[in-house]
Subunit: 256 residues, 2 copies
């Protein structure tokens, strides 16, 4: 009897959507996989290939999906867990490592995470240079953490004068959380702080709104929107063609 | 007389180094450019092409380089300002937008920023899932900001219990700053907080060290190192092949 082939488990970042933002490493790994595992819209992005098995699942079943992928890899298959954006940034890498940690069987397969362009980077590219200084990324979803933790982090980020990027700013189940976040930020930061809503960047329905904290309508944010809140130094600059750009300068002046 | 051709100015992220992390968009833009402008090691990464002009400069002249690129674009040329990693993350995008803002002449060229895989993402991929929760990215360089601002941000990031990623952790000119940062973090965070030094990820001299805040030797960090400091929930997990992985779980428990 031959020993089974060593399995391979890759968590693959597909980027924000367009093929021109898909790394060669991710494209090759998806093509070579025996099995694709992921949330349905991400699996649907991958070209179909005869002989490849596609396991598309609903959202909010990340751990089940991760366990399934591990079982396939243990059986000697080449498995790609496909994730939007970067799998390490509010995506599948943490769920897979959690499943590896909880797995009572030895992990006798090769494991790797393949980075991808995250929504924050795609949004920043369109906006000019909003992340030119120190920044933080916060998921506003309170599915997996208490809202008090989100409030504590928003307050800390304002105290540290970080640029902020919000993932998962709103959902049908939690339509008011983004309003709560803006109410808190308005109590902590200047009215004229630049704010951007960058929706579906790189996809056909891309939409960019640049405004200020006082004028912003938090209702613009849906689950496809990346929200950027400037630091005290972020400003709106007239770019080529009259397009507004966000700039967080590299330099922070000495305090007066 | 014909009207001059409309120029094109792209700030291009080349990623951490290997070609498999270079996006097709970045590769095509570099190939199509009339002029490549950038810090010498980044220009050297681009394949040479007959007819293309290479303008490689020393580090720390970002604004001069940006002004030069703008002048070329205004003259109708296709210009690629090449940057390591993601140009929006502690790289060339902010310098170029600053130069656009300061430019007294109208910006009659097309401008775009092309995202790339940043050092933080490459490091996170190798480490497993250190960025599974909210995180912040901080440049420890005090060339462009007072050290008091860095201290304020480290303190805020610890207060908010963010995972932290440090860029520019050390240089020959400022070898003690990383020691100062660790001394501050040791006064604010638990001894057992996981810490990683991820050096030159994706390049031949890649080196990964996973340790704890108490045991870490800050002297391991050089300018090619991305340093990760865990949140209170980050833990070290035994991965496949006995390789240690960092996991910041997606869930934050309710306070007791």
């Amino acid at each position: 009897m031959n020993a089974p082939q060593t399995g391979h488990l890759a968590v693959v970042g597909l980027g924000p959507g367009p093929d021109h933002w898909l790394t060669p490493e991710a494209a090759e790994t998806v093509t070579a996989a025996d099995d694709l595992v992921g949330y349905l819209p991400y699996v649907a992005r991958c070209p179909e290939r005869p002989g490849q098995v596609r396991h598309a699942s609903d959202n909010r079943v990340e751990l089940d999906r991760a366990r399934h992928a591990i079982a396939l890899a243990r059986a000697g298959r080449r498995v790609a867990v496909v994730s939007g954006g970067d799998p390490g940034v509010f995506a599948m890498a943490a769920a897979v490592v959690e499943a590896i940690e909880a797995d009572p069987q030895p992990a006798d397969y090769v494991f790797e995470v393949l980075p991808g362009i995250s929504a924050m980077q795609a949004a920043a590219a369109r906006l000019g240079a909003p992340l030119g200084g120190d920044f933080c990324a916060i998921s506003l979803s309170d599915n997996l953490k208490p809202w008090a933790v989100v409030e504590r982090r928003l307050t800390a980020a304002a105290t540290g004068d970080f640029v902020m990027a919000f993932y998962n700013p709103a959902s049908k189940a939690r339509p008011t959380r983004i309003h709560d976040a803006f109410a808190l930020l308005r109590s902590l930061k200047h009215d004229e702080t630049p704010v951007a809503f960058a929706r579906a960047v790189g996809r056909p329905d891309e939409a960019i709104v640049i405004t200020t904290l006082a004028a912003a309508d938090p209702g613009l944010a849906d689950m496809s929107t990346l929200v950027v809140i400037g630091s005290s130094l972020t400003r709106i600059v007239a770019g080529p063609g009259g397009r507004p750009l966000l700039l967080t300068p590299r330099s922070v002046p000495e305090a007066p």
